[in-house]
Amino acid sequence: MKRIFVNEEWCLGCHLCEYNCAFANTVSAGKSKANEMAKALKGKKIFPKIQVEENDGIYFAVSCRHCTDPLCVKGCIAGALSVKDGVIEIDQDKCVGCYTCVLSCPYGAIMPAEDGHVAQKCELCTRNSCGSPACVAGCPNNAIVFEER
């Protein structure tokens, strides 16, 4: 299955992936005009499902690894996390926001959603209008790629 992989040597720490992720999950996602993302996100605190780590000139983006033996799914007390065709999905309607998944994920790749009441995670843009990862499509440097390895 295709997954998102990180080439940290190419990452400039520009945080575009975070913006593309946040935008991909807004109502105006999919509109092609260049300024739509700015209109949607300008001046707002964003809650992306991918997060750039940085320290001392090193940068890389972290998002769900879609583990084949996922601790988050096994630990979910609500049965809100499941694996569908290799993609770990979250049913936010079932999620009660206990954050056992935050406790479980060894990558720190699940986080509280904007409203603070449920968890959110990368679903490879399979459930928004993008269809394939917006973070990867928008990365100018191939620092994140979507491929089989």
């Binding site: 997954r3 992989f5 990180v6 080439n7 940290e8 780590e53 940085e54 320290n55 090193i58 890389f60 972290v62 690894r65 601790l71 096994k74 630990g75 007390i77 609500a78 049965g79 309607d93 079932k94 009660v96 926001g97 206990c98 954050y99 056992t100 998944c101 935050v102 406790l103 479980s104 994920c105 060894p106 990558y107 720190g108 699940i110 986080m111 509280p112 603070g116 009441h117 390895r149």
Partner: protein, 409 residues
């Protein structure tokens, strides 16, 4: 092969999913004295305050038994295991034959003997869906509720009902709340935040005697109430295995593959002891993730995959009125504390390992700490100063990061 599971919660579901990874054909039978489709017990408090409902709190979809070709026998209690003839006896006299059996009987509320308890009209425990519904049915906006027990169950119950009642008092013999998961500073912080929502605590005291709607406490005070909830603790349901001659300490004794000492019989979940790698001791870890993973280990082993469950640690993620905390491991060792009013973090290290942590308020990326504990990562192999500051993969070596994020094996 004929698989039988006593129990219908996380351990049972883990076992079913484990079995079906290897064996799509054989019969699986699930026996439970509860009539409900598999549901998440920890969600009963969320049910009471409306964050979930009976439909959404199902632990697996309605089609789960059908999809996995499971025969559920619900509303019947397993009363005996006949190990000689490999049969589970039910309370209606019927027998269910097994080749491999999982005992996932969970635990039950412990109600200590308390003088005058029989004079209390409205008294409840808080463990099952039926418990929650029964409690809910007597609550009114004027109810004065007394909860005995300031642990996880008592306080989740408090959160679940506070908005629909008049007043709420929680008493506990311990002098602080949540002593099983928090240190003193953590207990204080969380207690304060819960008090601000309107819950009254009376700690370091217990009910000496009940007289109808009055509880006389050991500290001399009296509390009047309309509804009593007893949440002082749970006891594992070990009887079936014990009576069949299996090894039982506090909980049912199992090996790394979740086998009991009885041939063909496995056990998983709150009725068992786990090996806590942070203290190197066997203890009951009554936690849903633990139950699932034990059940899965049993299911895999029953069907020929020897994948040991050998990374059990205590761990809890819980919140009260929007204030969240995540804790894991044990707290014996050198402590490093970070605090800034709302947020609190404590890390415990010993023998070059992270042994435990508490995060309250900001719980971001806690799982990276959990990993350090679970995988027993030597702290001198990572940049621990970085990870102390906040959980981050940056603390791992470049080679490690390439493996974790770059798919390099």
């Amino acid at each position: 092969m004929n698989y039988v599971i006593i129990g219908n919660s996380a351990a049972a579901v883990g076992c079913i999913e484990g079995i079906r990874k290897n064996d799509k054909e054989s019969a699986i039978t699930v026996i439970s004295d509860e009539k409900h489709h598999t549901y998440s017990r920890p969600l009963i408090s969320y049910l009471l305050y409306g964050k979930t409902d009976e439909e959404r709190m199902k632990y697996r979809p309605d089609s789960f038994y059908k999809d996995n070709d499971v025969t559920p026998i619900l509303g019947k209690k397993a009363v005996k295991i006949d190990t000689k003839n490999r049969k589970v006896m039910l309370d209606d006299g019927k027998a269910v034959p097994y080749d491999k059996l999982l005992v996932a009987t969970g635990s039950r509320p412990f109600v200590p003997p308390m003088k005058g308890l029989d004079t209390v009209e409205n008294k409840f425990t808080f463990m099952t869906l039926d418990d929650a519904k029964a409690l809910d049915s007597v609550l009114t906006k004027d109810s004065r509720v007394l909860i005995v027990g300031a642990g996880l169950i008592g306080l989740k119950c408090a959160e679940g009902i506070l908005d629909k009642i008049g007043s709420l008092t929680v008493i506990d013999l311990a002098d602080r709340i949540l002593p099983s998961i928090l240190d003193e500073t953590g207990s204080e912080l969380v207690q304060k935040s819960i008090e601000e929502k309107g819950v009254e605590f009376m700690l370091g005291t217990s009910a000496a005697e009940f007289d109808g709607n009055k509880a006389k406490l050991t500290n001399g005070e009296t509390v009047e109430f309309d509804v009593l909830v007893i949440a002082v603790g749970v006891r594992p349901n070990t009887e079936l295995v014990k009576e069949a001659g299996g090894n039982v300490n506090k909980g049912i004794v199992t090996d790394r593959f979740c086998r009991t000492s009885l041939p063909g019989i496995y056990s998983a979940g709150d009725c068992t002891e786990s090996h806590d790698i942070t203290t190197d001791t066997d203890r009951i870890l009554a936690l849903l993730p633990n139950a699932y993973m034990q059940g899965e280990t049993a299911g895999l082993h029953m069907t020929g995959t020897d994948k040991p469950y050998d990374k059990a640690i205590p761990m809890n993620a819980i919140g009260f009125f929007g204030y969240h905390m995540i804790t894991a491991g044990s707290y014996d060792g050198e402590k490093t504390v970070y605090a800034d009013g709302e947020n609190y973090k404590m890390l415990v290290t010993k023998d070059n390992l992270l042994k435990g942590y508490i995060m309250i308020g900001d719980i971001s990326r806690a799982g990276i700490y959990t990993k350090l504990i679970r995988e027993q990562v030597p702290l001198d192999s990572i940049d621990f100063e970085l990870v102390k500051e906040k959980p981050q993969l940056m603390a791992f070596s470049l080679a490690d990061r390439k493996e974790q994020l770059g798919g390099v094996r």
